[in-house]
Amino acid sequence: MLDLVWLVPAFPLAGFLILTFGGRRLGEPTAGWLATGAMAGSFLATAGAFYDLAGRDLHDRRSVTTLFEWVPAGDLTVDVGFLADPLSLTMCLFVTGVGALIHLYSIGYMHGDADFRRFFAYLNLFAFAMLMLVLGDNLLLTFLGWEGVGACSYLLISFWFTDEANASAGKKAFITNRIGDWGFMLAIFMTFATFGTVAYVDVLDTTAAGTVATSTATFIALMLFVGAIGKSAQFPLFLWLPDAMAGPTPVSALIHAATMVTSGIYLLTRVNPIIADAADWVPTLIAWTGAGTALFAATIAVAQRDIKKVLAYSTISQLGYMFLAVGCGAYVAAVFHMITHAFFKALLFLGSGSVIHGMDGDQDMAHYGGLRRLMPVTAGTFVIGWLAIAGVPPFAGFWSKDEILAYAWNESPLLWAVGLVTAVLTAFYMTRLVILTFFGRHRYADPRPDEVEEAWASAIAVAEEAVVAAAAALAAAVTASEAATDEPDVAEAVVAARAAHEAAVLERDGIVASAGERPELPALALYGAPDIGPVADRLPDQVATRSDHHPHESPWTMGLPLVVLAVLSVLGGLIQLPFSTATKRLEGWLEPTLFGNEVHLSVGTGTLWVLAAVAVAGGAVGILVAVAAYLQRRVDHRAFEQPILADAWRFDRLVSNFMGGPGRAGFEATANFDSTVVDGAVESVATMVKAEARLLRRFHNGLVRTYAAGVGVGAVGLVVWFLSRTSF
C-alpha cells in the first residue's frame, strides 16, 4: 500500500481536473459530491498507507516512492517523489479527513452560489497542493506545494471577487506571504549549496550525523523560520490572516485554520535536526515569537465583534502555541496541538459558518444572541468546540495545551507565564463569543444604529416639510386678506395660519434639539432592547420584517461534519495522554522522524499536576469573568473591549503608514535609481554607439568606386608602410 501513496494527492488532482474541464453538466450538487468523493478516496488511500506503515518495524518506517526525475540540472537533480513516514502520514490523515468533512459541509454552505463548480475545483486543487507540500520528499517539492496552497488561498479568499474588499484581501495574503517565501527560497539555495541535494532523507541524515557547521544550520533554520512565519501567520507577518476571513467560511476553516496555516509548524518539525544543529538562540527566538504572537493575538480577539475575526485571531494565537512548542523542542506537543486544533478550530469555524448561513450572511455578533434555541445542532457542537479550545478537561484542547505549557515551564517559567495568560484570555474571548452568539437576549430584530439614524433623519425631514407647508398657508392667507380687507373671516384665518406656522416651527426645533441630545446607541444591547426615544414608530420597514423572520438551522450536510468534528474534539486527546509511555501514542509514533531531538521533561510528576491544575484554574477564571460580564451583567463588558484592541493595537495601520510613508519613499528612490543611474548607464552606451555610427555612416555612401578607391589607397598605404620599414 505504501507504494500507492501517490494516490493520496492523485485523487484531489483528478477531482480538480474533472471539475475544471468537465463542462457545465457538473453543476450543483454533482460537483460538490464529486469533490467530496475525491477527498474521501484520498483519505482512504492515506489510511491504507498508514496501516501499512504502522505494521512495520519502528526503524523501517520511512518509505520514499519516486515517480520520475523532475529537475535534472547538472549537479542538481530533483525527483518527484513521496516521503511516507509517521510525520507526513499524520499530517495527511487530518488534512484529508478534516478536508473531506469540510468539502461535505461546503455542499450545504455554497448552496445556490453561481460559481458552485469553480469553488469545489479550487478546494480540490488546494487539497492537492497541500498534500504535495506534506508528502514531497524534498524541499523543492514542498516549496511547490507551499506556493500552490498560497495560490489557492489567494483564489479562495477573493472567491467573491466582485467585491473590492475581497479582492484586495486576497492580494494582501498573497503579497505578505511573498516575504516568507523569500526566506524559504534562500533556505533551499543554502541547502543545495551545503548538501548538494535538497532531498529530505539525505539532508536530514547528514545533519543528524552532526557534520554541518553551526553557522550554516543557523542560517537555514532561520530562513525556514521566516518562511514558516509567513505561512503560519506569526508576528509580524500575521496581518493577512484576519483579512483572509473575506473568503467563504469553509475556506477559512480548511485553509486558514486547520491545514495550510499549520504547514509552517510541519516544516519546522520536519527539519528538526537542522534546528538542533543551529545556534541556541534560534529555538529561543522561535519560542518567544510564538509566545508573543499567542498573547498579542489573544488580546486582540477579546475586542472583536465580527465572529470570524475572533476566530481568526484565535487561530493566530493557537499557532503561536505551536511555535512555542517547537521552540521548546516539544515537537510532539506541537504536532499534537496541530491535530487537536484542526479538530476544534475547524469545528468552531464551521459552526460560525452555520450561524452566518442561518443569519443570512451577517457576521456581527452584536446582532446574534439566544441562537441556541433556533440552531440546536450548531449550538451543541459549538459548545464542545468552545470547551475544547478553552482547555477544559477532558476535551482534546486541554491535553495538547497542557503539554505545551509543561514544556514551556521546562524551558523557562517566563514562557509558561505568557502561555498561561494567553490560556486565560482564550477562555475569556471564546466564552464571550459563545455567550454573545448562543445565549442571552435575542438581538436579531433590534433596530441597528444606522436604522435609528435613518429614523431620526426622516422625523426631522417630516417636521421640516410641515414648517414649509404652514409657511405657504400663511402666505396664502395674508394675500387673501389684502385682497378683501373688510371681511372679518379673512383676518381670523390669517391669525390661525400664523399660529399654526409658529407651532410647526416649535415642533421642528424640538425634534432637532432632541436629536442633538439623544444618547448614543450601544453596539451591544446585551440586557434589553435599546431605548431609541420618540422615533420608535419611524424605524425603517426592514426592522419589522426582521422580527418575523428567524435564523434557521442548517441542512444535514452541514450538521454532519459538525457532529463528527465535535466527537473528534472530545476524543482527540486520546492519542497522547501524558500518564505513561504506553499512553503517549503520538510520541512513540513520531519518534523515528525526530532523530532524538525531542526534549525530555526534567520536572517531576508533582509539578506537572500543579501546572495542570493552575492551567485549568486559569481557564475557569477566564470563563467565569466572561460569564460575569456578558451573561450576569455584574461587570461592565465595555471595560474589556478597548478601542485599541478592537483596532488590533493599530499594528495594521502602523504597517500601512510605514509602507505608505518611508517605505514608499524608499521604493520610489529605488525606482528612481533604476530609471536614472542603471538605465542611464545602459542608455548612454547606446547613445555613444549611435553618435559613432552617425560619423561612420558617411563613408558608406553606396558608391562602389569610392570603396574601390579606399581599397586602392589602403593597399598603397600598406605598401608604403612596408617599404619604409625595409632597409635596402
Binding site: 555612416r697 558617411r698 558608406h700 555612401n701 553606396g702 558608391l703 568606386r705 574601390a708
Partner: protein
C-alpha cells in the same frame, strides 16, 4: 634587344594602373568588370614572369587559382549586371547606391 623580366613587370604595372584608373573613373558596370579583369591579369603576368625568373613553379600555380577565381567572379558579376539592366535600362553603378548607410 633582350626582353628582360623588368619589361614584363613594367608592362604589368602599366596594365594594372590602366585597370585601376578605369575602375575608379568609369561608371558602366560592364567596363568596370573588364577593368577588374585587366588588373587581375596584370597580377597574373607578374606571377608568371617572377616565377620563371626565380625558377619557382609556385608562381605559375598561383595563376591558375587567380584564373579560377576571376572566372567565377565574372560569372556572378555578369549575372548581377544582367539582372540590373533588365530592371533599369542604362543604369550606372552610382545609380545603385540605395544600400548606403
Amino acid at each position: 634587344m633582350v626582353v628582360t623580366t623588368s619589361w614584363y613587370l613594367t608592362l604589368a604595372a602599366i596594365l594594372f594602373s590602366m585597370g585601376a584608373v578605369g575602375l575608379l573613373t568609369r561608371r558602366n558596370p560592364l567596363i568596370m568588370i573588364m577593368c577588374i579583369e585587366l588588373m587581375l591579369n596584370a597580377v597574373n603576368l607578374t606571377f608568371v614572369s617572377l616565377g620563371s625568373e626565380l625558377g619557382d613553379l609556385g608562381g605559375q600555380l598561383s595563376v591558375f587559382f587567380v584564373l579560377v577565381v576571376a572566372a567565377s567572379e565574372v560569372v556572378v558579376g555578369l549575372a548581377v549586371v544582367v539582372a540590373i539592366m533588365r530592371r533599369r535600362q542604362g543604369a550606372t553603378v552610382d545609380d545603385l547606391s540605395v544600400l548606403r548607410g
